[in-house]
């Protein structure tokens, strides 16, 4: 091939690729502006959402995943009629949780050249109380039953080429004193009865029992554990192996969690299990799809969790005792909390 033809070929290729890239971005931009998706989006209207007691009973508040202007906004539905018209509020959250009038909203702040993230503490009327800059991408958020303590987990990404070396950082905030415990990895760890120190431990997925005690996942050396944590004594103690993203039942007796089940394919390693804290007996739920979420107890008998869906994520429900079968709770929704 002559240099001239090589150059012509290259310039043609550049022109074609630039045109194709421009079309791709314009098409995606049109999609993002909304309305292109087929299928019935859940009915919604804008309105007032409260994190306090509601005259009509318990609500399910979550991040709306419907495409268009309501994408990522907080939405509420009656807990006993989750398919009814949603009330959509202003705050935009990637992850959300609430209890007793305190909400935590982990959100992206879109910059010109880069996003950064922050944790916003909301009061019962969804007003910002304080916000905190985050070191990475938000993934888990929980509020203690009294509404006093708030915990969140972010991913701190690797910076290397095609880096897959993620680590987590989990923070606990006291909303009465505004004291921040920035990194739970500094806690004293007792692993299977012995003191343990390692630079490569990760802690994520806090679930509170009260304003001092909590449970979380501890990972180290390629394994994971359920740990009992003490936010005053700054200790973590392992209780049980192979537990990720624990969620404590309202009565405090059981933990719902992701279990890495041997023999499952690599792209679907987890199942939703329930652990009895008194006997350490494990019960698989009837959900047989792989699940990667911190489950939520709707009450002492029912679990809710997110699975991939048409618009990113849907919420499903399944009995916690291993009976029954999974049922759709709310389409196009993520990061739910029950507000009573």
């Amino acid at each position: 091939m002559t240099p001239r033809r090589r150059l012509a070929l290259l310039l043609t290729a550049v022109a074609v690729l630039v045109a194709a890239g421009t079309w791709t971005v314009l098409h995606a931009a049109a999609e993002a502006r909304g309305g292109h998706r087929t299928g019935a989006a859940p009915p919604a209207r804008t309105g007032t959402v409260t994190l306090g007691p509601h005259p009509d009973g318990a609500r399910l508040v979550f991040r709306s995943m419907t495409w268009g202007p309501q994408r990522d906004r907080l939405a509420a539905v009656p807990l006993d009629a989750p398919g009814s018209t949603r009330t959509v509020a202003a705050p935009v959250c990637l992850r959300f949780h609430a209890a007793a009038g305190t909400g935590i909203c982990l959100q992206a702040v879109h910059g010109v050249l880069e996003d950064h993230y922050r944790a916003v503490v909301l009061d019962a009327d969804l007003n910002e109380q304080r916000h905190y800059d985050l070191a990475g991408i938000p993934t888990r958020a929980r509020v203690s039953p009294s509404g006093r303590l708030v915990a969140w987990t972010v991913f701190v990404g690797g910076d290397s080429y095609a880096g897959t070396d993620f680590s987590t950082r989990t923070t606990i905030l006291d909303t009465r004193t505004w004291t921040v415990q920035d990194n739970l990895e500094t806690y004293t760890v007792t692993l299977e009865g012995h003191p343990y120190r390692a630079a490569d431990t990760n802690v994520w997925g806090v679930t509170f029992a009260d304003d001092r005690h909590f449970y979380a996942t501890l990972a180290g050396g390629g394994r994971t554990w359920l740990v009992a944590g003490d936010a005053v004594g700054h200790t973590l103690t392992t209780l049980h192996g192979n537990v990720e993203c624990p969620s404590l039942s309202p009565d405090g007796t059981r933990i719902a969690y992701k279990k890495r089940v041997p023999g499952l394919p690599d792209d679907a390693p987890w199942r939703l299990y329930v652990l009895d804290l008194a006997t350490l007996a494990e019960t698989p739920t009837a959900e047989e799809r792989t699940m990667d979420d911190q489950a939520l107890w709707l009450d002492d008998r029912t679990l809710a969790y997110a699975l991939p869906g048409d618009e990113g994520s849907d919420l499903w429900r399944v009995p916690a005792d291993g009976t029954g079968s999974p049922a759709l709770l709310a389409a196009a929704a993520l990061a739910p909390a029950v507000v009573r």
Binding site: V25, A28, H110, D133, F155, V156, G157, P269, T290, D292
Partner: protein, 418 residues
């Protein structure tokens, strides 16, 4: 646009000359390979920048799911670098063919991201991407060293590394521009990244000359063996030197973690720290490569480690606090990379005959990587047992000893031009 083929006089006339007289001396092949690396890094860093966000916000999964795959494939990458070097040397220089396979494999990973929707499969795609990177690194460096005249090799590698870093810094910006235009348009990012990767391969195929050995005829019965390389005294010395200094080089993530913890920087700064190092590296890679050509590459390599030693020292002594000290450490860290990364390849090229160039460069690179891996393991163990101050103090002492040893190694007969 230019045609990177020195046999074509019309082509060199078409070459741009941004700086009067200076840039014209950079071999077109080096610029072409630098362009390939720049484009490929734009493509790969676009994906790297948005992948965690995509996993968390769109797929709703946790990146930890595939973080576990990482360690397994790091080792494989070093082995593949050696293989890429050996294959590239066969038949008198099939470097371009092997590099094309490597770049092509990585390019195919981009559209694959549009198809996989679970974290472990995405981890697998990234692993294949690393296989491609492992294969192409040594033949690419061999081509650079063969295209540049020996007295300007340091600068040639500096030009390549600077272009590479410019791509790495541009990729995330391009990704965020796409996401700004199309919020939630992660598939648009992956699609554009695929086009960019395809363009990189096309530039390689069209603009990089095929046979990179200019003079040497194919070796009769030439099946290069690593054992033969180890009998070259100059190469043995330089591999030993790189491995020794690698043993005292704390991995980047440890450096940033130490910076953030010891200087008590706000956690929100953490993602910005690598940009500091990369910025300094980008600015200084070319001038430092040129200086290395003049004062001797080994001397520059050792001086780079002195800068790193100064950085460790600052972190250990903490003679100030917060932002100014962090900036000083990041500048020293960037200086270290600018003075060592391309310079090592240039120095290694000196020590290997042309027909063994790919394997020779791979051997030096693998030795350095092995040293750094051992260092990571040691730092992790020290940190766990005695805390970060002791770990850092030990590594500072080891680095000081390694620098002293490297500086006093008897100079090989064929050190770069004086």
């Amino acid at each position: 646009m230019y045609i990177a083929d020195s046999r074509l006089p019309a082509a060199s006339a078409a070459a741009p000359a941004p700086g009067p007289g200076r840039s014209a001396r950079i071999a077109p092949t080096v610029l072409a390979l630098g362009t390939v690396s720049l484009i490929t890094d734009v493509s790969s860093e676009m994906v790297t920048a948005v992948l965690p966000l995509y996993l968390v916000t769109v797929l709703g999964v946790s990146p930890l799911g595939f973080g576990l795959l990482d360690g397994v494939f790091n080792g494989a990458s070093a082995t593949l670098r050696m293989l890429g070097g050996l294959l590239g040397d066969r038949g008198g220089g099939r470097h371009k063919a092997v590099a094309t396979v490597g770049y092509g494999l990585s390019a195919l990973c981009r559209p694959a991201l549009l198809l996989v929707r679970t974290a472990p499969l995405i981890g697998l795609v990234l692993a294949v991407d690393r296989v491609g990177k492992g294969l192409r690194t040594a033949p690419r460096d061999a081509m650079i060293s063969l295209a540049a005249p020996p007295e300007r090799r340091g600068r040639a590698f500096g030009v390549h590394r600077a272009m590479d870093t410019a791509g790495a810094l541009t990729g995330p910006l391009l990704a965020f521009l796409v996401l700004r235009s199309a919020p939630g348009g992660y598939h648009a990012v992956f699609t554009v990244s695929s086009y960019v990767a395809a363009l990189g391969v096309l530039v390689l195929v069209l603009l990089v000359p095929g046979r990179s050995l200019r003079s040497a005829p194919p070796v009769p019965g030439g099946r290069p063996r690593p054992g033969e390389l180890l009998r070259l005294p100059a190469l043995r010395r330089i591999t030993g030197c790189a491995t020794l200094l690698g043993l005292a080089t704390v991995s980047d993530s440890f450096v940033y973690l130490l910076l953030q913890r010891r200087l008590e920087l706000p956690t929100a700064w953490f993602p910005l720290l690598p940009l500091g190092t990369a910025g300094v590296y980008l600015l200084l890679a070319v001038p430092f490569g040129a200086i290395a050509d003049r004062i001797g590459r080994r001397r520059m390599f050792v001086l780079g480690h002195v800068a790193l030693l100064a950085g460790y020292g600052l972190l250990l002594a903490r003679p100030g606090s917060g932002a100014p000290l962090a900036a000083a450490v990041l500048v020293l860290h960037g200086l270290f990379y600018a003075a060592t990364d391309g310079v090592l390849a240039a120095a290694a090229a000196e020590a290997v005959p042309e027909r063994r160039r790919g394997a020779g460069l791979a051997l030096v690179g693998t030795g350095q990587a092995a040293g750094r891996f051992a260092c990571s393991v040691a730092v992790g163990a020290l940190w766990t047992r005695w805390g970060d101050t002791v770990a850092l103090a030990v590594m500072t002492a080891v680095l000081a000893a390694a620098v002293a040893a490297a500086a006093h190694l008897p100079a090989p007969a064929k050190e770069g031009p004086a």
